[in-house]
Symmetry: C2
């Protein structure tokens, strides 16, 4: 854009650029009369300070990076809304980076931040990430990072999560109450802490009810919109066919429904399904879907609030704390108790 720059102001007024800059910053080195001339012309020509020049001076960009796996997931899109609600209030800009569940891509993205493009990072790690060197490398250079949802335990900073263990325990207990005896936990990772917690919660409920031997953890790839139909079909036609499925991520659900339908399995008669999900349409699915709904908006909001506070207030330091916001179980038709005629 052909903006009015300090150079143009300097040329117009026959002053040095340094003098213009000092005048604009109300320096005592510049006379009141000159300041008035500079300000008048700046106003007349609609001079707007270049944000990058300002970033250089203050070493602040007023920009956050949000790094997450997938914007089409309803949890993450709601979390972005929460982050954005704080950013707009605090006059911060939001750079969005998507890892698409790839550790390599995540690493490349983090590398970009070494140069000081952003003041801080809000992050939910990819399902592939097992090496945290890139993250700890940039964190050790005093780049503030706040994790949400998919956190990295190894980094001593603020982490915003939901009660994954408890909500999974409660949801699984519900499945068992509804008659399930063979439960399969479906996830896209065996390394993410969030997945481990959810799995452990489910397993605890199974153990308490003596059905831990039939508990199964099935890992499925979930890149873009691909889904491993074959593996799912294999499970549902095997002798170990579960009578209850917990989808650890929302994206699995439409696919699981479809495979059940194709195999002639009735939900909830033959198999009950519940999902961690923020899907708006959960209540109008066929059958309506029992969900564990995370406080997505709130999690994004809290994460952004803490991060921005740490950027703006020198006295406020990010400490190694985990903030847990509760999820809610919404029981619906997909896990209804089935009484045979």
């Amino acid at each position: 854009m052909a903006n009015v720059t300090i150079k143009i102001l300097a040329k117009e007024l026959g002053l040095s650029t340094a003098a213009i800059s000092k005048a604009l910053h109300d320096s005592h080195e510049i006379s009141v009369a000159t300041k008035q001339r500079v300000l008048a012309l700046a106003k007349e020509l609609n001079y707007i300070p270049n944000p990058y020049a300002s970033s250089l001076r203050h070493r602040k960009s007023n920009t956050l990076a949000v790094v997450l796996p997938d914007v089409t997931d309803s949890f993450f899109s709601e979390a972005i809304n929460g982050i954005e609600s704080v950013a707009i209030e605090k006059d911060f800009h939001v750079l969005l980076y998507l890892t698409h569940e790839r550790a390599q891509r995540e690493e490349a993205i983090l590398k970009e931040f070494q140069s000081g493009r952003v003041d801080g990072i809000l992050m939910s790690i990819s399902s592939e990430t097992t090496n945290f060197d890139s993250i700890s490398g940039i964190f050790s250079k005093n780049m503030p990072i706040v994790f949400f949802d998919r956190i990295c335990e190894q980094i001593n900073t603020a982490k915003i999560i939901t009660d994954d263990f408890e909500s999974s325990y409660i949801a699984t207990s519900h499945l068992i109450e509804q008659g399930c005896e063979k439960i399969t936990f479906l996830s896209n990772s065996d390394s993410l802490l969030i997945t481990k917690n959810r799995k452990e919660g489910a397993l605890k409920a199974c153990c308490e009810n003596g059905i831990e031997k039939t508990f199964l953890h099935l890992m499925l790839d979930c890149y873009a919109n691909k889904f491993d139909y074959e593996k799912m079909e294999e499970l549902l036609t095997s002798e170990q066919r579960p009578d209850g499925i917990i989808c650890c991520i929302e994206k699995f659900t439409p696919n699981v429904y479809t495979v059940c339908r194709e195999l002639g399995l009735s939900i909830p008669k033959d198999i009950k399904i519940l999902s961690f999900s923020n899907l708006n349409a959960a209540g109008i699915l066929n059958p309506s879907l029992t969900t564990i709904t995370q406080p997505a908006f709130e999690m994004g909001k809290v994460a952004a609030t803490i991060l921005i506070k740490s950027i703006q207030k020198k006295s406020f330091h990010l400490i190694d704390e985990t903030i847990i916001l509760p999820s809610t179980l919404h029981t619906r038709e997909s896990t209804r108790l089935w009484i045979n005629d």
Copy 2:
């Protein structure tokens, strides 16, 4: 971040910052020996040029702004994926701004770009936007803008849309073939060109079949997750109760399903519903939803490609052209012909 700066290099080597900068840029004013000393130390200390210093020099930020109403809408989230796929390839950063359908917010966002924070803008305007002064103001200052989906006709630049008129005409013809005689078009705007085109397409199909007199355009607010249940209920209990509804935006659909259910109206027996939607779960709704699916990813991709090309190639200018990518009608249970027993 406590990065290694030119100042630090200068101090370490007993040189001026200007000399360091020149050495790093391979200036002929600096001796080969000095250049080697500077480069060696820069490498040793892992010096990374500040991107904002680089932006200042080149007047390029390698940053795009994406301005759109709502990230939780599946069309927009898929479009972001398309934009991001190009940005990552071309080494561009993506700033995300959400208008939440508010013209005032959109205006405030655009004001931010006057300062040269971004090299170009990808935009889908809010449902409230009727005054285009802010947009044309910034466009006239040589800020490249490419519109997608919800375009602004008044600005002479590239616009990426789908065949709104035709796809709506085809979908409405389908509704009529399935037996509908009283069709209501549900939208959140009466000013957006996209809405007008879709409405006109629907009306044409009604006219051709002599049912234009019962055609209704109902406007409902759709901010955040609010929905005007009362207005919807009023319509569905009135004498003009439609037997076919076209949802111009996806967000309406779960609400329309819910109101129908509450009023005891059966879909598709009493009322048929179709929606412009990219919802993954459309096929497993109760009943499965007939959709007009836009090429969201492709639209984002094409828009970003053109914008970046215009930024990078001096010989390539954005011209007033409209690129139309086709949508697809997926007929499902919600519009099935109902034959009374």
